[in-house]
């Protein structure tokens, strides 16, 4: 019997009672009059083709219809693989399966039309150029009659609180709006099982809040929800059950969040899970800031960054904050000497630049720049230029003419410090997210620059890598290096920022403040700076020096 037949004949009750035009949902297949629905895993394991290790193994799990589950585990425990398996996105020929996995009593690839999944990267989920067309895409694929499509599109868009008309170009949306649109595209298909694979990891806090609110509003009581989310505290209001995967295989803990964290919280935190309520000790600067390294005078890059004043000092950690679109990454590129300023100027002190102090940093030769200012990009892979981890770290040194012995003496301790020694011969493109991030920071440090500029260095990192990065940055700062970090990460700011600079979104004028967003009226050319831990003072176009 084909899936379509099952859909029609085996869920008459729901068809009548619930929504009239709705298809069957998770938990509604009937065999011999007895419900067998929901998610069932028995000894499930998956090994990707060509890999020695199992991505996930020995998982026994029952999730009933309407349950909301947060799936946790240290990085590498196989959370995303499990979601992909449930969504029927692991083709049989792409690996090896153990045990059984069922959605509504069906193999996942047969239950595809009952399952919806939202991924992390909004750019890799949107298909069409116009918002409404994108939501309609899934409905067209499933053969929904043309007359029903647009009412369902509008309904899905309103369920996620999409603030624009459906003709809005998808390219004109912010990350948070794109993720809400992706969610609408999945909800329009009325899945009984909704899977979320870190849907807010790429977003600023305001965007992430809106997406979570959209999930909370849009998911009704008989939709089963399974979420993988890094920031556990933020995801907890969405769920009533936590399942912890063991990296070696199996399920370590399963139950209500309070019970799981009371029993296993310490062990999970040590392994890198962001267990709520476990704060990290702050690592503020011991002494006063040192000499000035860079001075920005009305530095800007229209239309991306309004004119900004600031100074960067040695021995100080400066955090640059602000919503997506405020120009934080552009500021990082300008300070890193990688972009020609559109307005104003950037002056390097003799302390940083030596004889080059009179030349603006964007005109320095690349090797000289790399020896003075290290930049860590948001996407680590942009920075990799060689074919092994060791060569990545040796590159800058070899360019300055260092002997192989000197190279070893510098690189080996760095590898050790960032837990990369066992990967020295690996290709950088094969590293996991955390490893790639550690390597990209290490490459910027290998030439011992006085100033380090990082764009979202802690983004998407587990708690263990996060703490290692904070410790490393704090040590560098205390050794007299300057540190500028563009970040959305409130914990990072709380732990180690000595001073903050908040950029406002001034130039994206067509973007009305979204509902629930704590956004004041945009102030032209405004950049506010404040000592960490205090509310930013509104100062026009000035970065106030506070410590």
């Amino acid at each position: 019997m084909k899936l379509a037949d099952i859909s029609i004949f085996k869920s008459p009750a729901n068809f009548m009672i619930n929504r009239g035009c709705r298809g069957p949902r998770v938990g509604e297949s009937w065999v011999g009059g007895e419900a067998v629905g929901g998610v069932r895993l028995r000894g499930f394991g998956w090994r990707h083709a060509g890999r020695r290790a199992w991505a996930v193994r020995g998982v026994d799990l029952r999730v009933e219809r309407g349950e909301r589950v947060l799936l946790l585990g240290p990085s590498g425990a196989g959370k995303s693989t499990l979601l992909a398996a449930l969504a029927g996105l692991l083709p049989e020929d792409s690996g090896e399966q153990e045990g059984t996995i069922e959605v509504d009593g069906l193999a996942p690839h047969e239950a595809r039309d009952r399952v919806g999944i939202v991924f992390q990267d909004p750019q890799a989920q949107l298909v069409m150029a116009r918002s409404g067309d994108d939501v309609a895409f899934g409905l067209e694929n499933r053969g929904v009659p043309a007359g029903e499509i647009w009412p369902r599109v509008d309904e899905a868009l309103s369920r996620v609180g999409f603030p624009y008309h459906r003709d809005r170009p998808t390219a004109a949306l912010s990350g948070g709006e794109q993720q809400r649109l992706a969610l609408a595209g999945v909800l329009a298909l009325r899945p009984g099982l909704l899977l979320l694979d870190e849907p807010t990891a790429n977003l600023d806090p305001a965007g992430a809040t809106l997406v979570r609110a959209a999930v909370a509003r849009a998911v009704d009581t008989d939709t089963t929800l399974i979420v993988v989310e890094h920031r556990v505290a933020e995801a907890l209001p969405l769920v009533d059950r936590v399942v912890v995967l063991e990296p070696g295989g199996g399920v370590r803990a399963d139950g209500p969040p309070e019970a799981v964290f009371a029993a296993d919280g310490d062990a999970l935190a040590a392994e890198g899970v962001w267990v709520p309520g476990r704060d990290v000790p702050p690592r503020r600067a011991g002494g006063p800031a040192g000499e000035v390294l860079l001075t920005a005078d009305r530095l800007g890059q229209p239309p991306r960054l309004a004119a900004t004043d600031l100074t960067v000092r040695a021995g100080e950690a400066l955090a640059v904050l602000g919503p997506n679109g405020a120009g934080k990454s552009t500021l990082a590129l300008l300070l890193g000497g990688l972009l020609k300023p559109g307005t104003g100027r950037l002056v390097a002190s003799p302390e940083l630049a030596g004889a080059d102090a009179r030349t603006p940093p964007h005109r320095w030769r690349a090797p000289a720049l790399a020896g003075r200012v290290g930049s860590v990009f948001q996407d680590p892979e942009h920075q990799f230029v060689t074919s092994t981890v060791f060569d990545e770290l040796a590159l800058g040194l070899r360019r300055t003419g260092a002997s192989e012995t000197m190279v070893r003496d510098r690189v080996d301790p760095l590898l050790q410090r960032l837990r990369l020694t066992r990967l020295a011969a690996a290709n950088p493109y094969t590293l996991s997210g955390g490893e790639a991030r550690r390597l990209s920071v290490a490459t910027a440090l290998a030439t011992a620059p006085r100033l380090l500029i990082c764009d979202e260095p802690t983004f998407g990192q587990d708690r263990r890598t996060w703490r290692e990065l904070v410790d490393l940055f704090a040590e560098l700062r205390d050794a007299g290096h300057g540190l500028v970090t563009v970040t959305h990460d409130a914990e990072f700011v709380a732990a180690m920022a000595d001073r903050t600079l908040t950029l406002d979104r001034t130039l994206a004028l067509d973007r009305p403040p979204a509902p629930n967003a704590p956004a004041g009226p945009p102030v032209a050319g405004a950049a506010t700076a404040a000592p960490a831990g205090t509310a930013p003072a509104a100062t026009m176009g000035r970065s106030v020096e506070h410590r």
Partner: protein, 266 residues
Amino acid sequence: MITLEPLAHPDAPLARRNPVAKLAAALLFAVPLMATLDPVAPAIAIAVELAVLPLFGLHPRELVRRAWPLLAAAGGVLVTLVLFAADRSGRLLLDAGPVVVTSGVLITALGMVLRLFAVALPGVIVFATTDPTDLADALVQNAKAPARFAIGALAAFRLVPLLGQEWQMIAMARRARGVEAGRNPVARLRLFVSTAFTLLVGAIRRGTRLAVAMDARGFDAGVPRTFARRQRFGPADWLLVFGAIAVAGAALTVSVALGTFRPLIG
């Protein structure tokens, strides 16, 4: 900057025609013109193309903005022919050592340049007045192209502008690492290749993720797709197609009648 959005006013009578009809008209208009080497038929064609611009809601300035690579190509054709043409017949116009310019050379070159414009402009006009989504829809609905191909290409197309931004980021990241080519051409080539490789790796990964996300929404479901946006192919669209054939035929007829017709083959 690569612009993919249509430039034209969407309500212009010909811009509104079915994208497949516009594409077919452009092809059926341009291909016959390739049969002749003379300048007259392409000149008539260009005159017609410019005359219908307002019907497509397109300002000549916008056409120049889209078609400027053609101007560069035309310049290239002109220089190449003047320098290397085998046929040096006709009146001598300029004799500067190795460069011999005769009237025969100039007429051949003029014919080539006009042909280039006459054949390429219809395509430029069609793509400047057609929304990519509409084109994909029409290809699937009216030309029975496979949806997997047309919609897949459309989704990939949407990622193209991202590549430019990625390239800039990778180039800056390389500078931050202390890698720069300076004036050494070999180093420049190697840097270009390595930047392109990084770009390619990223593009393939993103494309793969997009393909998975599309399949997760049933793109590979195998049930017949329905169409949210209906594309119609009506009498006016047929008229456009046959009109294009008729005008191309007329241009060739005039060329034959004037005796300037020079067949490409023979």
